[in-house]
């Protein structure tokens, strides 16, 4: 179970940073008024419906709008769900997720079917939407109350992350949490995913980050690593919609877990060659080279393996980018120091970091004051790092 499922709020007070929205939502549910919850992803739209249902003893009937393809389908489904009073007579909340993803010609009439259905509903209906101003749900919008979910403040997110690690008994530094929280851009779910990935990389816990594309990447990795014929995997990367950079990180992270010895050397050589083509694409904007990148990353890696091993390997997401980001923040002070010195001693700050700071540290550590215009904090930093 991912941490996001494990720590999905059961109580209203566990939802962070959405007090106003929750009051409004509660009101709608009590009065059986349809509501559209909208706002960025990972801010608690679905979670707050869950929490309210749980706390007030409602059954939750969840419908994913993208599952319901057309009016006919919708009619049947909605009428059933909305009209049936359950015999055990527990109240229900109908939750229709991603209502704005009703798409294209097929859905024509889908929205109006929902409108007529909710009119007759005995139960409160709640919609979530990323963009409530989508024209195809206009009719729905006028009948419902719009409730906005805002990006969650990073301090709230940080508190949540802290709570999770505390209850799992994992050690951490506040710094890391703050960084993850800041980086999430108000997306609690994203932050929890990052936290999960990071902790598994730092402490060698098992666990895989829950990403949108995870499953696709997983399957492609499995195909690339396990296929017997290189031709079979040719083009699978191009034909999927996964981000190439992201796939690259996954491949790099997991390659040495799957390949050994000569196979590993050969496979890395393919990655390295692919990277050269990638560099050339960036430099010259000559995108046809992508064919070679693709072939080397898929068929190239497949062909590098002498003997295929069966058996499941649990793949991990590469934590490199995140680590880099966190380190950069930690190194901000060092950067400041180097920049200051650079001006004074006629060097670039990069060179100062590499060539002068190591010596300066020793001088500072030996308690010799050195007059290069550093603040107390900066001297302390050199002393400690």
């Amino acid at each position: 179970m991912s941490w996001n499922e494990k720590f999905r709020p059961n109580r209203i007070r566990e939802i962070v940073g959405q007090d106003n929205a929750i009051v409004a939502l509660k009101e709608c549910i009590m009065q059986r008024k349809p509501a559209i919850l909208h706002g960025p992803t990972g801010t608690g739209k679905t979670s707050s419906v869950y929490a309210i249902a749980h706390e007030y003893g409602y059954d939750l009937v969840e419908v994913n709008a993208s599952d319901i393809r057309n009016k006919k389908n919708m009619d049947g489904f909605m009428k059933n769900a909305l009209m049936q009073e359950s015999l055990i007579s527990k109240n229900k909340i109908i939750l229709i997720d991603e209502i704005d993803s009703l798409s294209g010609v097929k859905d024509r009439g889908g929205a109006s079917a929902i409108v007529s259905a909710i009119k007759e509903s005995n139960f409160p209906v709640v919609f979530t939407a990323n963009n409530p101003y989508e024209s195809k749900i206009r009719s729905l919008r006028t009948k419902s109350k719009l409730i906005e979910y805002k990006k969650v403040h990073y301090l709230e997110i940080q508190k949540k992350l802290k709570y999770i690690l505390d209850s799992l008994g994992i050690e951490y530094t506040e710094d890391v949490l703050k960084t993850i929280a800041l980086r999430s851009g108000g997306d609690v779910r994203g932050a929890i995913n990052d936290l999960e990935v990071l902790s598994s990389n730092f402490d060698h816990l098992e666990g895989i980050g829950e990403r949108e594309n995870t499953e696709t990447i997983f399957n492609i990795l499995k195909l690339v690593f396990k296929s017997n014929e290189a031709k079979n995997v040719l083009g699978i990367l191009m034909n999927s919609d996964i981000n190439l950079d992201e796939f690259w990180l996954w491949l790099d992270e997991n390659l040495p877990r799957e390949y050994r010895g000569k196979d590993l050397i050969e496979a890395y050589d393919k990655l390295s060659r692919a990277d050269v083509f990638y560099g050339r694409i960036r430099k010259w904007q000559y995108w046809r080279y992508l064919v070679y990148v693709d072939a080397l990353l898929t068929a190239g890696v497949t062909a590098s393996k002498g003997k295929k091993e069966a058996g499941f390997v649990s793949y991990k997401r590469g934590g490199r980018i995140l680590k880099m980001w966190i380190m950069n923040r930690k190194n901000a002070m060092r950067k400041e120091i180097s920049k200051k010195l650079a001006k004074k001693i006629h060097m670039s700050s990069g060179r100062v970091t590499k060539e002068v700071l190591p010596y300066l540290r020793i001088i500072v550590k030996n308690k010799k004051g050195i007059d290069v215009g550093l603040t107390k904090d900066e001297v302390n930093y050199l002393n400690e790092n």
């Binding site: 890395y268 990655l271 390295s272 990277d275 490199r320 006629h346 670039s348 300066l360 001088i363 050195i370």
Partner: protein, 312 residues
């Protein structure tokens, strides 16, 4: 206490050690208050920036700061920033009896080809009112049109005698006791780089005023930890995942780029317990990877590809 690389930076031509021919020729130019654009090429810590600063002091005297603009191409990124700063500086006429102002652009070899083209245009536009001094490690990284607009001076690493004079001067001033062999040790570790000599000397002096060869070598060991060697040994033993994760952490912690790492690996290969055939194969691989590093886009992938070849 001041940092010695600044405190002992020469401020006149006479104080400069090494680069005799270059100093002579440039001093002659400054006496005539006339010079072309200059290019200084050579390793670091051999006097390129110093000579540029001395030129400014000699030409402009007290007012040298107003007439001398120092930019570092690898810090002041973006040719647009460089161009605007240069434009603003060059627009005002020189406030001295010298008919031009000086722009010193350090680490020019970090400019992209496009940026170099832009720089070339800028040089042309302001030739009347300014002189450029460009400094770089490798002149081969600069495009021909720029080189042909400059008088190129090739700087060489300091010789043991230069190091001796520098160290003795500092020792006298700072009341250090220099024991036998120390100068040779300093020369040894410095690769003829004056900055390394002075930094090592100052950090040793912060421990004791008796400077011995042992102290120097210990200092260098403390400053350049043997992390890379450890990582290579872990890879040789076959724990590749750990080796590459450590390598990544070291890079982040020390702010080293791919090239820095390859240089260190190259040196360490000779200290490893491997047969000579394998060592040579690895050196060859270093070269290949260095080439790919320049062409490619993700340095870490390239370093891993190198590292994987160490597995026995």
């Amino acid at each position: 206490m001041e940092i010695w690389i600044e405190k002992y930076r020469p401020s006149t031509f006479a104080e400069i050690r090494g680069q005799k021919n270059i100093v002579e020729r440039i001093e002659a130019m400054t006496t005539q208050k006339s010079m072309p654009h200059l290019m200084f090429a050579g390793p670091s810590g051999v006097g390129k920036s110093t000579i540029a600063l001395v030129i400014a002091r000699t030409l402009f005297g007290e007012k040298w700061r107003e007439n001398f603009l120092e930019l570092n191409a690898s810090d002041d990124r973006g040719i647009d920033i460089v161009r605007n700063t240069i434009k603003n500086f060059a627009r005002l006429k020189s406030i001295s009896n010298v008919p031009f102002k000086i722009i010193f652009l350090d680490e020019c070899d970090s400019l992209t080809k496009d940026a170099q083209q832009a720089l070339r245009r800028t040089m042309e536009n302001f030739t009347k009112s300014t002189r450029f001094i460009l400094s770089c490690n490798f002149s081969s990284k600069l495009i021909e049109p720029i080189k042909s607009r400059c008088a190129v001076f090739r700087f060489t690493a300091l010789e043991e005698n230069d190091v001796k004079e520098i160290v003795e001067h500092i020792a006298k001033n700072e009341k250090l006791k220099i024991s036998d062999g120390t100068i040779k040790a300093l020369f040894d570790i410095s690769d003829g780089d004056c900055r390394k000599v002075e930094n090592a000397l100052q950090s040793c002096a912060s421990i004791s005023n008796k400077i011995t060869p042992e102290l120097i070598y210990d200092m260098v060991a403390a400053v350049n930890p043997i992390e890379i060697k450890n990582i290579l040994e872990i890879a040789i033993k076959g724990d590749f995942v750990r080796a590459r994760d450590l390598l990544f952490d070291v890079r982040l912690k020390r702010g080293l780029n791919g090239l820095d790492i390859i240089k260190q690996i190259q040196k360490e290969i000779w200290n490893l317990k491997l047969d000579d055939k394998k060592k040579i194969r690895l050196i060859d691989k270093c070269g290949e990877i260095e080439f790919r590093l320049v062409e490619g886009s993700d340095e870490h992938i390239q370093l891993e590809t190198l590292l994987v070849n160490f597995i026995e």
